[in-house]
Structures are given as C-alpha cells and as structure tokens.
Amino acid sequence: MNDREDDEGVSGIAGLSRREFLTVALTAGGGLLLTLNVPSAAGAVEPSGAAGALNPYIRIDPDGTITLVAKNPEIGQGMKTTLPMLIADELDADWSDVRVEQALLDPIYGPQFAGGSLGTPLNWIPMQRVGAAGRQMLLTAAAHTWNVPLDECAAQDSTVRHRPSGRTLGYGALASRAAALPAPDLNTVRLKTPAEYTIIGRFTGGVDSPRVLAGEPLFGIDMSLPDLSYAVYAKSPVFGARLVRANIEELKAQPGVRDAFVLRASQPDAAVRMGLVDGVAIIADKWWDAQKALRKLRAEWEPRSASSQSTHAFALEADRLAHQTPQTVLRRDGDVEAALAHAHKTVSAAYDYPFLAHATLEPQNCTARLGRDGRLEIWAPTQNPAPGAKLVAETLGIDPGKIRVHMTRVGGGFGRRLNNDYMVEAAAIAQHARRPVKLLWNREQDIQHDSYRPGGFHHFTAGLDTEGRLTAFRDHFITFGQNGRVASSADLPRDHFPAGFVPALQYGQSLIELAVPTGPMRNPGGNALAFAFESFLDEVAHAGGRDPLALRLELYGPARVLPAPPPRYGLRIPPFDTGRVRGVLEEVARRSGWANRKRLPAGTGMGLAFYYSHFGYVAEVVQASVAADGVPHVHKVWAAVDVGSQIINPAGAYNQAQGAILDGLGQALHLLVTLDRGRVLQKNLDTYRLLRIEEAPPLEVHFVRSDNPPTGLGEPALPPVLPALCNALFAATGKRIRSLPIDPQHLRSAAA
C-alpha cells in the first residue's frame, strides 16, 4: 500500500529531490558549513529578501559543539526540536553536543513557515539528507587523516572510529578538514534504515524549554533594543471603518507619551486582507504609558459595509438562503433528488457553528527598526515571515532586499500568525516615528481584530435503504463570501467525505457577503466541517439502526488505496487509503471498549468520529455524561492516530495530539465570537472562554504505525473530538447537538 517512492527511490511527499543542492564552505572559525537549498514548494509562501547569503544548517566548532539551524518558526508545534533531530540523527551526532539556532528568513532555506502541518512532510527527507551529507564528509575527512579506506570508518556519537585500529577522532577535530571537501550529491547520500536511528523516535525535550523556564527573553513580546519605544495602535472596532478625526494633540500630552499620529489603510479592503488599516499610533517610553494614553483616545470612525453585519442577521440570512436553490453546485454525483425520492428513509438536519478567534496567549506584537541606511529590521512572532516581509515592502514602498526578518519564538500560532497585520503595523509605525518600536496589542484588540474562523450553516439530507445503508447525501452549505468569492477558510472541499463514497451526492453552496476578516485556524475547514458531517453521519447511523462504527467501516469499504489527487501547492499529495481509516477506527474501538458501550450506566454515552486531514487519519471516541445543570462532563477521550511509519519525537507528538483534542473540546464546549453591527462583542478571556485544567479529561492517544512517510501532527487530531463529544452526548441523553458551542440549556432537560 505504499506507492510513494519517488524517482530517486526515496519515499517522501515533498518531491523536491531533483532541485535540491548542497554547498559547503569554511566558517571563519574553521568549522563545517552545510546548506541545503530546498526551493519554494508551497505556493502560499514566496521567500523574499537578500539572496546569495550562505546560511548554514550545520556548523561544527573545533571544540565539538554542533550548531544546527532550525529553518521554520517555532510556535509550540516543536519544529525547532524536530527538524534538528532529523539532521542530528543522520549526522550521527551526540544530541548533547547539539545546540539549535533559529534561522533568519532567507530564501536559501526554501519555505519557512509553520502551517498546514507541513513541517514534517516537507522536511522529513531533506533534513535527513543534510545530516547524512555531513556524516559522509566527516567520515571522509577521518579516512584522509588516517590514510585508511573510507569503509573502515564508522561514525557514532559525534565521533569517527577506525574499526580495525580502534582509533577515534571527534567531530570537532575533523570539522575543518571535512569542510574543505567537495559537497556530496544530496540525492545519492545513503539514509539510515529505521533500525539505525539513534535520535529519531527518542523522547526529546524542546530545545528552548530550559530557557523558557529560566525566564529568558525568547518571545516576540520580550524583544529589547537600545532606545526602544513602545507602541499601541488603535483601530476601529467596526471592521474597515475610516478614521475621520482623533484627539491626537491631547494624546501627545499624556504622561510618558512621545508621539501620536494617524496611519491610513493601504487599500480600501485592507481589513479583510489583514493589511494596514486606519488607526491611531501612540508611542511612549513604557508600554503601560501608551496603554493608559489609549484610554484617552477620542476617535470618530466612519463605518463602511461591515456596520450592518451581525451574527443574528447572518442566521436570518442563512435561513432565507436555505429555502432557496443553492447559488452554486460544488459537486453532483448521480441523481440525488431521484435517490432521495426512492430512499427507504430520509433524514434531514441543519447544523451551524460560530465564528471563532484564535486567542494566542501571546498577543500580537512586533518590533521594528528602520536604520538610517533604509534597512528595515523586524523581529516578529510570525508563522509565515515571507509574506509578512512582502506585505511590508509593498505597503511601505521598501525594497524587499532591505528587509531582514528575525523569527522570534512564538507564543501560540493556531493559524493566527499566518497573517502579518501586526508586522506591517509595527513597520509603518517605526517608519513614521523614525525610531525603533515594539508594537504590542492589548488582549481586547487581539480578540477584536483577528482573522476569524468563519461560521457556517449546513442543511443535510440523507437517503437510507432498508438495511440502513447511505444511498444519497445532500448538503446545502451556507457560508461566507467576500466580493462574491468564498472567504478565507470558509470553503467546503468538493472531495469532502462522504463524496466519492455515496452513489448519489450533491454539495450546494450559497454565500452571505462578509466584511469581517477570516482566516485559517488550526485545521481550517476541518475544525468546523467535522462537527457537522460526522455528527450528521451519526444521525444517519441511528436512523438506520446501525452501529456508527460499522456504518463508517462499510462506507469506506475494503482496504484500498484510491488514485492520488493532483499535486497541490507543488506538493505531491499522498493518496487516500481506506485501510488506514479502518486501522484507526478499529484501534480506537478496541482501546475504548466501544463494543461494550451499551453496558455503560444510564446517562453515560460514547460517541465516535473519524476525520482525515493534513494527510493524517484520526479516529476518536469520547465518553461523556451531562450534569443536572446541563453542563457536559467529559469522562475520557481515546484517540487512534495514523501519521505514518515513524513518530519522530514522541515527546512532541503526544503533546500535539493531546493539545489538539483539548483545543477541540474547548471549542465545542465554550468558544464563540459574536458579531454585532460589524464589531466583535467578546473582548477578553472572561467572555472568550478558553478551556481550563479541570475541564481537561483523561486522554489516551495511540499511534497506529503504517507503512507511509511521516506526516504532520499539529492539526489532524483536533476535528474528530467535536463530533465524537456531540455523538456521546446524544448517546447519553438522546439530545442531538446541532449548534456550537454546546448549550447546557439544550441538555438540561435531558439530565436526570
């Protein structure tokens, strides 16, 4: 079932091997430098900035210190540890000799971003090759030193040993000689077999963790520079409003304030594009002074289209659209109307879910310094630095070659920081103020100026035969659009399950015009669609008198690999494998005791869901009951996860899966952004209610190893928990949750 061998015989989905090349040079200190160039593979990422600079992945100092460069931003997904582990293993480095350095944004590294759970699939092979090439150079250097055949030398724990004589040389002693050797062809370096791994697969703590716990300044918000000022930037709570006037002189007179001024939107629709919008900048010697001055701001805003937009109005509009023919048919397989007409039984239900904010715990911030030479230096907690630099260059008219972006540690991403609005704001403020500034949003601004996970509405109808089999499926998806196009992360993929697995199916779509920015949030699409589709599938199972597990196994059918979809974003997409679906479904059923669920006490239920996303196969079971006040009580969650043959770092992998499950639980239980006349009503974490420790149930995560290249884990474990919880609540109470977040009122009457 593994057909993912590429032309070079190396499994991997990046498909980059032909275009990789390696360069080698001496460092000033006589060490070894290795650079692997992985050209841009993701269409969303266009590296910019100075080209030609040599940026090493591997540097070995004469004292034996091995410095490995982590190319991608660290947002908590663990890539600053994972990617160097891949290099270090193939390098045969002793992990305790390794220190990790965060790369600058530089095209020499190829795509540098944290998104799409792509860090692992894009870098799994390339990073190993970098390490293997380094090992080969060190072995060759040792062979030359001893004047012995190369194949008599072996590397282990940062040391090369001459097997016949037992002589050894440390990497530090070999580095200078190794660096003078020609670079091996990356496509021909031999990679280890899994049995040879020494670091891959080992529980490895985050490389920054000791420094975080020492309170060292690692995050964007911790940046300091000589003569740094602090900035706040006030924008209209109603999206896209134009600033008419503000009491700038009064603001300037506030204690500690150095300057206050107005900045203008870069373009009329900058708000939905997450660009620079109209606002008032206040600069002070201390952030608290700027923040206090902000409270004195009196601004008059001229609202535009967004001022009519409300959650309530959206619901009414969705209801109106639901009674009409879909504006667009996304997919039509067979004759769904005829199939429904001939069905033994039909089931219809409407589902909806709200807008959500990301609420990264580190609020948006950025530090910028414009030098006298016109060079702009930026320190940004961003997931996606290259488009940020491009946005800054375009908005401020700065030569992209003069922008240097430092990637700080990031206090949570979740997709929020794929957008770089805070970056362009900081740069614009630094440019206008002619001094280095650290822009920091307060929490209220952070929640009220997000790129929101869009809400949505689904009107499903399913047809069942006499055996309870699904014969027809229809969804009228009512979502949000901007200028007639589906808003960011508001789309329904036309191949979304059960498409392709039901003979008659139709996905229709209608749009509600939206003037509020939306964007990707951890598992975009999936975090909402899984709830709707997998809950409705549970309804179908119950309506047909079927076990929800058995219905799913039957729908996906026997184990087989479907034809691979065409490449997307320059990536070879792995084909969908129903055997992997079966694998995780059966594993989670076994672990959770699914077959015995009927023996649970009255009022306690189990729910199941499966979701495929970001190349990962995840099935989850939730056991839950409902308290007398209607509040759901989650007893436990079981997850079975297939992300390929190898868990690179179990420390990070389990943490990602557990965190994603709890993140999803929090969404189901609490999270909601309410729009009212073009603004967001929630302001802080008292009303935007993130999950707390006492609400985090026991979790069991099981990785199912399959013969497939490793893929990412930041996202795939999140979606199934929402429907699995709702399905468990149905099993416990007979009440179906069709709207999120879960309303205890709805469940109260069901509680004993």
Partner: protein, 161 residues
C-alpha cells in the same frame, strides 16, 4: 513615584505611577520579561508571581500594593527547593508547547506544592484553575505537578459514570 521592592532576593528601586501593574514594572522597568502578559484582567495567569509566597497575578497588582512583600518571579523561583523540583519535572515530562503560559504555570504549581506537598487531582484543579494553557498541555501539567511531588503520574481520575 519611587518604589523600593524586594525581587528575587534583591532590592530594586523603580520610578513608576502608583497604579502601574507590577507586571509592567517587572517587564519594562526591571527587564524581567519571564513574567508574561496575557489578558490584563487576571483571567489567564500568565503573569503569576509569588507575593510573600502566595501566587498573585502581577497584571492586576499595582506596584503601590506590593509594599514590603517579597516578590519571586520565574527568574528567581529555581532557587527554592520546590521551584527547582517543579522546573525539573516540567523539563523531564516536556510539558510545554509554545511555552508562553508556562512561567505562570510553574509559579502556580510551586505555590501549590509549597503549601500542599501531596496534592490530589482536585487540589491541582483548584490551584491551577486560573492558569490557561492555550496549547492545552493540561495533561502534562497535571502529571508534572505529581512528578515533582514524587507521586505516580498516571491519570487515575475516575472515569465517572
């Protein structure tokens, strides 16, 4: 106004308005940026420090209210026995993801264990309720507290029925 406060065993003098939250004095005046800003309204706990040994939210503690109470921050917590154990447990279990909340988590956990060296799950829930982890590392936070206390780390909470 001039304030003299005792931070991590060191007397420091700062010039600030009396209503300035301790958080911003720590971060911007004293450059102790390990204490984090998350919400400013004592909802998330990222700014947790010890005031006289008790966990307190620095974002709503005006500098004028600190008085003579000794302040311990994440930069100084490792010098106490419980602080050292908690940090070691945090690293051993690899608790953190993004890490932004973890200074506050460690401060709350240390305050708990100093008072209650064998906390139950309910004790942990109560003491850690005010510390949000947006990455939801709660499973490991719970385990690391138990590990620091020398208790078994398996999640043995009853699967209630």
């Amino acid at each position: 106004m001039q304030f003299s406060i005792l931070i991590n065993g060191e007397r420091r003098s700062v010039e600030a308005d009396p209503d300035t939250p301790l958080l911003w004095v720590l971060r911007d005046d004293l450059h102790l940026s390990g204490t984090k800003y998350g919400c400013g309204i004592a909802q998330c706990g990222a700014c947790t420090v010890h005031l006289d040994g008790v966990a307190a939210r620095a974002c709503v503690t005006p500098i004028a209210a600190v008085g003579t109470a000794p302040v311990i921050t994440i930069e100084g917590i490792g010098t106490s026995e419980w602080g050292r154990k908690v940090k070691a447990a945090w690293l051993e279990l690899d608790v953190m993801q993004c890490g932004y909340c973890q200074a506050g988590q460690v401060m709350s956990a240390t305050a708990l264990l100093a008072k209650n060296p064998r906390p139950s799950d309910a004790d942990i829930d109560q003491a850690m309720h005010g510390n949000i982890c947006r990455c939801c590392t709660y499973t490991r936070i719970r385990a690391a507290i138990k590990h620091a206390a020398g208790l078994p780390t398996a999640d043995t909470r009853e699967v209630r029925s």
